[in-house]
Amino acid sequence: MIEITTTRHNPLVDPVLSVWSWEIPVYLFFGGMIAGMMILAGINMLKLAKGERAESFYSVQTPLLGFILMNLGMGALFLDLAHKLYVYRVYMAFEPHSPMSWGSWVLLLVYPVILVSALIRLPQAWPWLGERAPVLQRLSDAIVASPGKVKLLGILNIGLGIGLGIYTGILLSTMVARPLWNSAILGPLFLVSGLSAAAAMVHLTASLVPGHPAPRSFLGGAFAMLVQPLGERPPEPRTADGLVKADLAFLAVELVLIGLLFIGLASSSASHVAAIDLLTSGKYATIFWWVVIVAGILVPLALQWLELGHRIPHTILPALLVLAGGFALRWVMVGAGQASHMIAATGM
């Protein structure tokens, strides 16, 4: 028997660490989804540069939506900061051993890349902007006319997308004090979950927002970028099937990675076994199993499988479930991770 009493009573630290609330899961979710969008868009940009038909793609139109989501994510992150006036300090230093420092600088690179990427679709997505700012129109024309520039943008999108997606997991996994996060699986898991959320988001908005003609409003135009083909014609029906197939693969890989995370932690130290207990039988078990695993992965897997086999019609339900499951995964991992702690193997 070990009984420990303490007089410590620091807010957010005692009795259970709870320094990060809803803001960080929101930031990680949007960050992962933007990373996924960048990778999908980047892949399609490479195809575009090779001369494939633009009508085959949805994701090449995602950058501006990514930009908006990025601002929402960064806004959540800013709300989480306790010393807000000093936020500029992040960009007064580069700390090579700090994942958060790496992430901050990667985000700084992501902004211009997604904005320049958005210029590819400027005339169709935001026609009013192109008319009022001819310089943007000229830039857009120059990029679209040059396969080399489109290819470079594609490579930048893929590279930064992978960096951003993995960073959202690495940020947590480097903290030795939180056993639930102590796994190299967390980076790839958050990356694949981000890809899955990105495919779901593209699918969802493609279903909800009419693609043609482009809305002339700010938000409508940005959302239309998801569904506007490069030409005047709407996307081909098989494009939706492509998204569903991609999401099936991402969900399957996500499930395998979660399994590996469990195996890794459950076969590790007492601290790690206690940490995984938070997900198997602790207070986070219900939301983890029912929302993340069943509703967020297994049900969308089954529904999309049936959709591909044309046994049920395409609906937005799988996409909604994938998005809910992706957010719940971050919510659970951030909350349960903070609740996990090292158990003393030795004592007095």
Binding site: V90, A93, S98, T346
Partner: protein, 179 residues
């Protein structure tokens, strides 16, 4: 250059909390927060029980995870004494250091920055002991240079059985408990 550490004799500590009050007074620790605290650990089965009372604080680790995770360099290892310190004007309040510390030694100051024990560096620079050490009525706490083999802390660690908290975390804590 010294490498400061602290040795606390658990056989002398009575958990009176003088060290806690002295710290709060000396460092103007905000109400409802603490930079040091008392832990009472009971082990065994009745009637074979053993008790250890510890005055705990930031361990000023040799391998501090709070420093490596800090994105701005606000958490840093001070040149003088190699102690772990926080520069409030550089801290953005991201709280990564709070999550990274296995000891729960940090808290968010009501002004927004991460705060914790400084080993009373301002006093040490004047040749004084940290406030907690200076007021201890049982003289259970000793502060000094761990790299100086003739210092009181080095002598105690050489002659007495001791342990640190969560050594398995790999942080190499520099607060030692004599048993």
């Amino acid at each position: 250059m010294p490498r400061f550490g602290m040795v606390i004799d658990t056989l002398k500590c009575v958990g009176c909390m003088d060290c806690v009050v002295a710290c709060q007074t000396e460092n103007d620790v905000p109400f409802g927060h603490c930079r040091d605290w008392i832990v009472t650990e009971t082990r065994g089965e009745f009637p074979n029980l053993s008790l250890e009372i510890r005055s705990e604080r930031c361990n000023h680790c040799d391998n501090p995870p709070c420093v490596t995770c800090c994105p701005t360099g606000a958490s840093h290892v001070e040149g003088f004494g190699k102690t772990v310190q926080v520069t409030a004007e550089k801290c953005i309040g991201c709280k990564a250091c709070l999550a990274a510390c296995p000891y729960g030694a940090r808290f968010v100051h009501p002004d927004g920055y991460a705060d914790k024990c400084t080993f009373c560096l301002h006093r040490v620079k004047e040749g004084k002991d940290p406030a907690c050490v200076s007021v201890c009525p049982t003289h259970c706490m000793v502060f000094g240079d761990l790299d100086d083999p003739k210092s009181a802390v080095s002598q105690l660690l050489k002659s007495r059985k001791h342990h640190t908290i969560l050594p398995e975390a790999g942080t190499k804590p520099r607060v030692f408990y004599l048993t």
